[in-house]
């Protein structure tokens, strides 16, 4: 077929790349940028560690109190760091109008959403793993017992931050006062996810005598389902011209 059309002078048209393939390319591109500079993850780690340190200074050396609130501090650290990470992931696109280049490539905007969101998720997830030993050292919690459950909670919680975070970061990166706007939009929306993540982590760290963990994980899963769906559907509208 190709030979026949070539004989008639019709140029060979490459097939458009599929949604998940282009999402994977966007993801790989961001990962490569991150690997070559290693600026973002380093900054995130220092920022989050400093946040955890500040919480323990603010409360003083009361170990029982710190241990009790450890889950809350962990998630606040991740949440604050997520704003930096999300803002940075779209700053690389607004510089040199790279987003226009992506759109002209042409990359489906939904693929950009998937690539960015899937890229930000592991970033936060990796950050939370760095924070765990610090949590153990500073707040004297024991994580050995429920490590598998804690990993599940961290994965779901990071995904819950990333989906609405990606779409709001795309909006904020083009607006005035973007550093103010992203937390202003994102934090209130994340309250249910933060609540569920903190409760679930606290149950893992301090024991779950009433078997409540399942319902909090269910809430997190539902939150993820809603906002990944909304983000996937609405993101093309955000980046269109």
């Amino acid at each position: 077929m190709i030979d026949a059309s070539a004989e008639r002078g019709i140029a060979f048209r490459p097939q458009p790349i599929g949604l998940f393939h282009s999402a994977a390319i966007v993801f790989w591109k961001d990962l490569l940028i991150e690997w070559r500079t290693r600026a973002r993850l380093n900054a995130l780690i220092f920022f989050a560690v400093a946040t955890l340190l500040l919480f323990s200074f603010a409360l003083g050396p009361d170990t029982a109190l710190l241990r009790q609130n450890a889950a809350g501090y962990l998630w606040l650290g991740i949440l604050f760091a997520s704003v930096l990470s999300l803002g940075e992931s779209f700053r690389v696109e607004t510089e040199n109008s790279s987003m226009d280049g992506l759109k002209l490539a042409p990359v489906d905007a939904r693929a950009v959403f998937l690539g960015k969101a899937v890229g930000n998720g592991p970033m936060l997830f990796a950050l939370s793993f760095v924070l765990l030993p610090i949590l153990v050292a500073l707040y004297d919690v024991s994580i050995a017992g429920g490590l598998a459950a804690l990993v599940g909670v961290l994965a779901l919680g990071c995904a819950a931050i990333t989906a609405p975070g990606t779409i709001y970061a795309a909006i904020a990166s083009n607006a005035r006062a973007r550093d103010v706007l992203l937390p202003l939009l994102l934090f209130p929306l994340l309250v249910p996810a933060l609540l569920a993540s903190v409760k679930a982590s606290a149950l893992v760290l301090q024991g779950d005598p009433m078997h409540q963990l399942g319902s909090w994980l269910g809430l997190l899963a539902g939150f993820n389902l809603i906002y990944w769906g909304l983000g996937f559907t609405l993101f093309p509208r955000v980046v269109e011209d």
């Binding site: 609405p164 779409i167 709001y168 909006i171 083009n174 607006a175 005035r176 006062a177 103010v180 706007l181 202003l184 939009l185 934090f187 209130p188 929306l189 309250v191 249910p192 609540l195 809603i226 906002y227 909304l230 609405l234 509208r237 955000v238 269109e240």
Partner: protein, 258 residues
């Protein structure tokens, strides 16, 4: 007080609003009638709530704040649902007047929602012993207020009318995901806040006074939203008209009209 009087007021408000929508020539005066009905209804409704309604056998007179609190929150939810509808419609139709409608409804909804939550806190103090509690209904209500404040802040931070409209519509749709949770929270988690009541579950006098207040606040909601919508429309017209409205020789600004 018979229940039908309240339903007559409600129907009158809705009918007038229907006339306002259907016959553009009436838009100059219908809102004034609605404003009179609204203010008169709130004043008379407050009298009915304070003097005519029987005292509750458990809560005594404290429950009377419900006559303002419940319709306020209903109107907030109504306005925010219209905001959601207008946001979805905007993404399909790209009509800036839909954006003006969603801006108007978000502000009116936030206004009524704030008053409703404040009244609820005042009621909670003598009843629950605290101004505030993190029960699911109150938590989702607080989220609603902060989310829509962020929505209005976003509008201030974006200058391009088209972009602002699109992004606000996206944020409005995402923000509306809180509303069903807010509404059903008292059924899903049976916590401190009581469940919704209905006509069959309360004294007919109390129900009719509640409906009277609802009708009056509905009239005010329509008036507020309509006036805010007009302001928003005028702002958009000014934003869009400015470059070509300049005289052709005014400095180095190129004019498309010339």
């Amino acid at each position: 007080m018979p229940t039908w009087t309240s339903y007559v007021l409600l129907l009158a408000v809705l009918g007038l609003f229907g006339v306002h929508l259907a016959v553009p020539a009436t838009r100059a005066w219908v809102w004034k009638v609605l404003a009179v009905l609204g203010v008169g209804g709130v004043v008379s409704g407050s009298y009915l709530a304070l003097a005519v309604a029987p005292a509750d056998h458990e809560m005594g007179d404290v429950y009377r704040i419900m006559f303002a609190h419940v319709p306020e929150v209903w109107m907030a939810l109504l306005a925010l649902c219209v905001n959601f509808g207008a946001s979805v419609a905007f993404l399909f139709r790209k009509d800036l007047s839909l954006d003006a409608l969603s801006e108007a409804c978000a502000e009116v909804g936030l206004f009524f929602g704030t008053i409703g939550v404040l009244l609820g806190a005042i009621w909670g103090r003598p009843t629950w012993g605290v101004w505030w509690d993190w029960d699911p209904r109150l938590t989702t209500a607080a989220i609603m207020l902060v989310v829509y404040s962020g929505y209005l802040a976003l509008r201030k931070f974006v200058d391009d009318p088209e972009k602002r409209a699109t992004w606000s519509a996206v944020v409005g749709i995402i923000a509306a995901s809180d509303l069903p949770i807010l509404w059903f929270s008292v059924r899903w988690w049976r916590s401190l806040h009581q469940r919704q009541s209905g006509a069959g579950k309360m004294d007919p006098t109390i129900w009719s006074i509640l409906m009277w207040n609802t009708a009056a606040l509905m009239a005010l909601t329509i008036v507020f939203a309509y006036q805010r919508y007009r302001i928003a429309q005028a702002t958009r017209a000014r934003e869009v008209a400015l470059p070509s409205a300049l005289p052709p020789d005014s400095g180095d600004v190129p004019s498309e009209a010339a």
